[in-house]
């Protein structure tokens, strides 16, 4: 059973296609990842699915309800956790939850029970009656997530849920997402952290320039790029000419510059390692570390576009 079916969804802003004729089905109970660099069209897609942005062309159904014709029904099904915290600072944690719960039509004992449940889930039970303005940013993030869950949504949209979090906090959010899936929710997640998608998602769609350029499970996607290995080079001050030289090297499929240094895709990583090191040192670039690894989802994007996600 599908929870989301997207048919030919398109959004044009000032003549530019932000989302270009995408087709997609998300199954019930799935964690589905939407990956891509900034501006790829992820946020626009989510905005259309959440009925706050009308599509230029095409449509989609969420749990059988059309996003154009039945926006209220769609909104009842979906829970949205915005990337930036959206809460009332002068209301308490419980009041924020109760307010949004009531907007979704929850009342009385059921609302109270759900509020308690969520406060426990996000570990804010002891801060129930404190105003949000006294919270740390981590606590606000957790309450922000809880508010998105107050009406027991069948489909949850998480927009960059771990951006700006430290590794420990990120791990905690990941565990929570897994837990929500175990409770039966379907989740649509946007991220530009490939390892996040790799760890969490059952399937991912990679978006670039408004289009879906790859769609499958992380494992299959990684296999799809062939028997490639990755040479990760950590170094600073790499000149552009070096990239061109490396690209011409026999056995190198793709080279991109990352925030930390270089990433080379090659079917014969071990064999060309010496040449790579030689070329880099000949340009007087000091190598901080060198590593041969199995491809990650990031490399799928590199292989497909010749760019990294941060570009």
């Amino acid at each position: 059973m599908a929870i989301v079916e997207i048919q030919g969804l398109t959004k044009v802003f000032n003549g530019r296609k932000a989302v270009d004729d995408i087709n997609l089905t998300i199954e019930k109970g799935e964690i589905f990842g939407l990956l891509g660099p900034n501006g790829a069209g992820k946020t626009t897609t989510i905005a259309m699915l959440s009925t706050i942005l009308p599509p230029t062309k095409g449509t989609a159904t969420v749990d059988g309800c059309d996003i154009r014709r039945q926006p209220k029904e769609v909104r009842r099904v979906i829970g949205i956790v915005p990337q930036d915290v959206a809460l009332y600072d002068d209301l308490t944690a419980a009041e924020n939850l109760a307010y949004f719960g009531k907007l979704y039509g929850a009342v009385g004992e059921r609302l109270k029970k759900r509020t308690d449940e969520l406060l426990r889930l996000v570990q804010l039970k002891d801060r129930t009656k404190d105003r949000v303005k006294s919270f740390s940013s981590g606590m606000k993030d957790r309450l922000n997530l809880a508010v998105g869950l107050i009406h027991e949504p069948r489909l949850l949209f998480l927009d960059e849920p771990t951006t700006g979090l430290d590794p420990q906090a990120r791990q905690a959010v990941w565990e929570m997402i897994k837990k929500l899936q175990a409770e039966g929710a379907s989740i649509l997640l946007t991220t530009h952290y490939m390892e996040e998608a790799d760890y969490l998602c059952d399937r991912v769609a990679i978006m670039d320039d408004g289009k879906i350029i790859a769609l499958d499970s992380p494992a299959v996607l990684k296999k799809s790029i062939g028997k490639l290995e990755v040479i990760e080079v950590k170094a600073t001050g790499i000149p552009r000419t070096l990239l061109a030289k490396l690209r011409k090297l026999r056995g190198v499929k793709e080279v991109v510059q990352t925030s930390e240094g270089l990433r080379l895709l090659s079917p014969t990583a071990d064999a060309i390692l010496g040449q790579v090191v030689g070329l880099i040192t000949s340009k007087k670039v000091r190598i901080d570390s060198l590593n041969v690894a199995q491809p990650a989802l990031e490399d799928v994007f590199i292989k497909l576009t010749g760019r990294t996600l941060k570009d």
């Binding site: 706050i52 209220k72 909104r75 009842r76 959206a86 009332y88 209301l91 009041e95 907007l103 979704y104």
Partner: protein
Amino acid sequence: MRFLTITVKELRLWMRDRHALFFTFALPLLFITVFGLAFSGDMGKIDVIVVQEDDSPLADNYVFALNVVFDVTRADSAAAAENDVLDGEKVAAIIVPEGFSENAAPVRLIYDETKQEISSIVMRTLEGVTMGFLGQQPPISAESVSGKQLDPFQFIVPGMAVMFVLMIGGIGGAESTIKERDKGTFKRNLLAPIGRASYLAGKLLSHFLIGCMQLAVFFGVGILLFGMSVYGSLLLVALIGALVIILAVGLGLLVSSFVHSQEGASSAVMALVLPMSALGGLWFSIEMMPGYMQSIAQILPTYHAQNAFTAVIMRGKDLAAIAPSVLALAGFVIAVLVAGLLLFKWEE
């Protein structure tokens, strides 16, 4: 009825904002008290200097008459008196010259033109006293029209009420929407399965209720604490009040669609409401202004609100008598509200 959830939330946030509470209730009450008391009681006589150079009994009597209408200080020479006026110590000096009794020399008035209003009162009073004294005009027989006591609170309470309801409704209404946009809660509200109409109804109702509380407190304090009488119907007062509150709520809505920062919203509302209050006669009666300014005043909603309020409160007029002002006010209410609703921005 989900808009009531929004109304309750808005009121709760408002009650937790001490700053807002101060501006909503305490500041206006302070204004009402200070202005009401300042205008209460006798105006007090104006201080003038009198130099009597003619010592005939006629001149003695004339100076005695001046003593009745002015607070007279005697001086010996015209030069000294003129100096006092020049230094700003007294508003005017009246010189009764030699030959006054023989009608050979006119009374001289030396006045300070920088204190125009008081000077002109002195001048006219002096003219009156002098003419009457010389037997050229019969003494005045004064009769008050209504037979009712002048009570400055009957003017100050509605005046300050209109000004502060417009100010708080405008600023509060605009700020709450702008703040929601900044915080991202605006989008979160719209993502819930409520209609746009419910969202706006919830917001506007909360600000309408705040305005009602303001009017209840201001008129309550005026009537119960300061003994202000309302000669006309309280229902009419409530009707005019309701129109003013809706105008304020509409103003807030309209401002929120043009201004994007909270500071900008309060500046914009102040820039609109303060001049409208002064010109519309909320601070003092517009009869004190020149004719063309009075004409401008009559195109302002503040003027019509105050006009209708004072007609009911001071003169006990009925609906038919205040209908023109009520209709003008209603016209403003509809125009502002419709513009606010049409221009409201639903995008982030």
